[in-house]
Every structure is written in structure tokens, then in C-alpha cells.
Symmetry: C2
Subunit: 351 residues, 2 copies
């Protein structure tokens, strides 16, 4: 059977001061009355119904998830004791799924993407799942690049179909510099790596065994522990021994069985305030303004107060100013990659 | 006898969000543990002792003054029902003083200047008061200009002494544009108009009678009302009839009896956050930082949070970012003249 595994362990630093460790991006209501995680859950139905969906997150976020998204069944959570990047999170999910269903096929999805066309999205997933059922391949969803983005990994692929809608992957390329990104796009042979993957639980564990045996050993220890009455302590101990590793670095860049299905749907990674600014409604000066804000001679800026307190911005261009009950951020739109560092410094200061 | 009349009716817009209508600049603790008004009061002693000092302010600020500066005698206040610029405030003060002392000499001082050398300041005042006692002239204190400032009025004066330390005024010039200001400074014949004045109460009322007879009539109505048991309603009514007018425009630019004493002390008008930034302690990047702030790659900026909330500023140059319990301001240092307008818009939004 097909199961969704929604990766929702983000730390909420890129959207500070709206997101925080206690209220990460996946729990924000961006662009919709529903949280990002709810949008992700509903986008999969009816192809993958709610009882075949699992949310992978870290222990300390469980409470907040349950509070903010009360619809979700508590049994739908796969809990990591602490975050160890995507490799261990995916491995742990595969271990859990195999206990339920030895033939489980996993659709791995980040919880923080924006995808508007649900039908096209499900059609792409059907193509990928159909191919996995037939071939037991390792499949990723690729996005046709629209700009020489340096914040994403790229996938080089064979232009000719291997099966209808499915292509062989030539190589995975890490985040390129700008010149390299321009060259990638000019060749027409590269797609963005979306972080969405489709494979059987058996197969991904075999790949982990082959390419990152240390992680595999820890996962087997966890698998054994889950069969006992009180697995928690052993799971935590096994997790402590795991080194953080991304699934891209741990498996995708090494496997010889990777395939890519180019996305047939519009996609945005909501990676920073820039994407939120781009998608929001602007006034005639190109400003997004929300809450009690006063703006003088300011252009192309995102000015939002989420409290009752007035926020006055004078003589600025291309900046993000956000005030919430957690704090205030002032940052040029072309420096938003540094918000993560600032948010981490704010956290450090607190403790 | 000599009396100080401290003008303290400012509306607190230029230092928003630290100052507000309820807590104007004169009640802020800038550069000192004492408020600006306390600094002004203490700077006059012993030349003008506390019981010869009066504070002119508007009705709605009295409570806050009494709360923040409990040392001040309630009888030291001269209250305007509402603000009508410096002409009426000074006229009202003259009327009050004449009831106490027909020979009263007034030293009129703004409450928001920064003057460090108290001895030199008092020496300058003694020169001016001595001259007024001898001549009954209209005297202003002039500041030797250090830059082609366009935010001040200028005084053209005769370079030769009229009396030791006292010069005849040739003309008062309104705030010039930059080219004119540069020319003024090059001639060496111009001083800044400090807004500090010395004259007898009798004499300033005669000047008001001659140059702004409407204001004089209202002041005489108030003088009569003050002799009754319940003057308040008549004072309010008389004040309502008064048109706002500055003493510079109403008297100084018209009188033929103006003299200037060049200041023998260092002086700063604390007119905007720029002066506060200039005087505060800076880190090696030229930033003033106070409170729970996180700063990344930011230079020559004033970054202050006066609450517990973190304030993160990334990639900025020459900006002022101030967060208080009243709100948040983001403004380039060369646009601080617009803070007043933003603060007024914030007030308007509130009501």
C-alpha cells in the first residue's frame, strides 16, 4: 500500500519572528486559513487517505502539533527523539512502515511547500508510484527551474524518457554558485531537487545499508527495540549514536538506481520571507502592509506588525520588517538567507 | 528679580516611539539619569534658584510632569489650556510673572537642549541679564554655527560689541536652504537662533502689544481673569481665540530693539535621534546597541530595544531602529526629520 511520510521537523528559524522553535513554519498559516502541515495533508487526498499518512517530527513539537492541528490522529506521528537531518528521519519512517506493511511504498514530502494544483500534483505522484511498483526504483520529483537559483540542489537527467514521464538520473549536483546555476539552466538537462521522494520502504533501507551502514545498524537496533514493551530508552540511545546526514548525501548522490519524474504542477519552496512577499498582495508602491503600520516613502517592502503596536517605516527600499510578540526583524530582501543565523543568535541569547 | 521660564510644551513626536504625547522629550532620560527638564532646572542653579523657576506646559502634561519629577513644586507650573506655539506661551508667562513682580526679568529657555558647561552657561546668562537690567533690551542667545544646518533660524549681527559680550542684531533669517546656509557661515556674521531669550516681562508685553496686538488683547483678557476667583473658564476662552504664532515671527523679526549675546558654552539641540546617536557610545562598527538586540553585518546604526523583546537587524547601514512598548521605528539616519510626520500618523491612527 502507499503511505505518505511528511517531514515536519523544521526548527522555524527562517521565518523568525513569526516562526519559532515552538511554532515552526509547518504550523504557520501562510497563504491559507490552514497551517502548512494541514495544506500538505489535504493535498494528498484522496490519493493517499489520512489513515495512510504519517508525520515525522521531533519529540518537543508533538504537543504543539496536536494543539494546532487537532484533526490529526496521534497514531499518525512518527517521533524522532531529536533532529538528525533527513537521512535518519526517513530511515526511522521506513522501519515504522515495515512493521505495518512489508510492501509499503513511501511518498516522502516536506511539509513546507506551496503547491496549488492538487490534481496535477496527485497525477505526478501516481506516475512515480506506478513506476516504483513496477521497478522498485529510487524516485525523486524534479522541478523545472525558472531562475538560476543557488539555494537548491540540482538533478541532471537523461532527456529521453526511460518510461513515460520517468527519466534516469545522471547525477545529483549540490547547491551551485551563480555561474554554474546559469550553465545548468542553459543546458536544459537539469531540474531542481524538490526533496520529494518515492520508493519502497524495503528498498530505501537496502540503499541505506549499502551506502551508510552505520545509520543502518542504528536503525536495526531501533527496529528491534520497537518490538519490545518499553522501546523508548533504547530508541533514544540508538538515536544518540546517529550522525546527522541528509538523504541526498547519504543515498541519492551514491545510488545507481535513481530516477526522476519532472513535476507537472506549479511549485514554490517557501524558504524565506521573500517567497511570502512575492505571493502577498501589494499596494501601488510594491509594499505588503499588514497590521497597524505607518509607511512613508517606502518601496517594494514587506512591513507587517502582528501585534497591536504601531510599526513606522520611513524611507526604505526592498526591506522586510516584521514585528510579532516574539520580536522584531529588520532585513533587506536580498539578505534573508541570514535570518536563520539571527534567529539562532536570538535563541542562544535567551538561554 | 530674575525668573526662569522653561518652555516644556513639546508634543514628543520627534523621538517616537520613545517619546509620546504623554511622555514628551523633556521627560526623557537622555544622556543622564535625570530627565531633560530636571537637567534644565539644575543647570540654572544657583544663578536662578528653584523658587524663581517656572515651567510652561500644556494642561494634559501636568500629571506626568508631577509624577516623573516629584521635586518640582506644583506652584512652579504655568499651564496653557492647549499649545499655541511660543508667542502665546511666553506672553502668558509674562502676564503671570507681572502679578508677582512688576520688575520681573525673564530668562526663557527650551527644556530640550544639551549644555554641559554649567558655569559658562550661567556666565552668558549673567551678561544678558546685566544688559537687560541696564537697557531694557530684547536679548537672544546666539550659537556660533559649526555646520551649514538648514534646520535652524539664523541671526545676522554686528561684529563690533555694542556692550562687552553684547551685539546689535541686524536681522533674523528663517531656516535657510543649504546654499544660503553655507553663505551665512562664510560671512562670519551669522549665529544660530537658540530659542533662549532674556527680557523684562513688561518689555516683552509692550513688544507683543506693538507687533501682534490680537495676541496682546487676549493676554490682557487673561490678566483680568487671573484676578477673579474662578479664572479657568475665561482663560480657556481667551486661549481659544489665540492664533498659534512663534515669538520669532511675532516679535523678534519685527522689533528694532534686538540684541544677541553669543554663547560662551557648548550647545546641542537634541532635535532628532541623530543627536542621540552621535552622543552615545558606539561599538567598532559604529553601532549604538542597547537592550536584547542581535546585529549582523550592520554599520553606523542606532539599534535599541527598550523592551524584553529581541530585535534583529541584518545588513543595514546608517539606520535608526528603535523598539519600545509604544511601537517600532525603522528610519535611515538622513530621513529622521520625517519621524515627526510618522508619529503624527500613528497618533491619528489611534484615534
Amino acid at each position: 500500500m502507499v503511505y505518505a511520510v511528511i517531514m515536519a521537523g523544521g526548527k522555524g528559524t527562517r521565518f523568525w519572528p513569526v516562526s519559532t522553535p515552538e511554532r515552526p513554519k509547518q504550523l504557520l498559516r501562510l497563504f491559507d486559513e490552514r497551517t502548512m502541515i494541514e495544506q500538505t495533508v489535504h493535498r494528498l487526498e484522496p490519493f493517499i487517505p489520512a489513515d495512510q499518512q504519517f508525520i515525522v517530527t521531533i519529540e518537543e513539537q508533538i504537543e504543539e502539533f496536536a494543539r494546532q492541528v487537532p484533526d490529526l490522529d496521534r497514531n499518525s506521528f512518527i517521533t524522532e527523539p531529536f533532529a538528525r537531518n533527513t537521512g535518519p528521519a526517513i530511515g526511522l519512517s521506513a522501519v515504522h512502515l515495515l512493521k505495518k506493511d512489508p510492501d509499503a511504498i513511501m511518498v516522502v514530502l516536506p511539509a513546507d511547500h506551496r503547491i496549488e494544483d492538487k490534481e496535477a500534483f496527485q497525477a505526478t505522484l501516481r506516475t512515480a508510484v506506478g513506476f516504483v511498483e513496477e521497478s522498485d526504483g529510487i524516485v525523486t520529483i524534479g522541478i523545472r527551474p525558472t531562475r538560476p537559483e543557488t539555494g537548491y540542489g540540482y538533478i541532471q537527467y537523461e532527456r529521453d524518457d526511460f518510461r513515460p514521464g520517468v527519466h534516469r538520473v545522471v547525477t545529483f549536483a549540490e547547491k551551485p554558485n551563480r555561474e554554474t546555476a546559469i550553465r545548468f539552466i542553459e543546458t536544459g538537462e537539469f531540474l531542481w531537487n524538490s526533496g520529494m521522494f518515492i520508493w519502497s520502504a524495503q528498498r530505501i533501507l537496502s540503499e541505506i545499508e549499502e551506502h551508510t551502514p552505520e545509520l543502518y545498524a542504528a536503525l536495526m537496533e531501533i527496529s528491534d527495540a520497537l518490538d519490545t514493551d518499553a522501546p523508548k530508552e533504547r530508541v533514544v540511545r540508538a538515536y544518540q549514536s546517529i550522525k546527522p546526514i541528509s538523504i541526498d548525501y547519504g543515498v541519492m548522490e551514491k545510488t545507481r538506481n535513481a530516477y526522476v519524474v519532472p513535476a507537472g504542477f506549479g511549485w514554490s519552496d517557501i524558504g524565506s520571507w521573500e517567497e511570502v512577499y512575492q505571493m502577498d498582495t501589494k499596494d501601488t508602491s510594491g509594499n505588503v502592509r499588514q497590521g497597524p503600520v505607518v509607511i512613508l516613502d517606502t518601496q517594494n517592502s514587506y512591513v507587517v506588525s502582528r501585534t497591536e503596536l504601531p510599526l513606522a517605516v520611513i524611507g526604505m527600499k526592498n526591506v522586510v520588517v516584521v514585528h510579532t510578540e516574539e520580536g522584531t526583524l529588520v532585513c533587506p530582501r536580498d539578505r534573508l538567507q541570514d535570518v536563520r543565523e539571527a534567529a539562532e543568535l536570538v535563541q542562544k541569547r535567551k538561554h
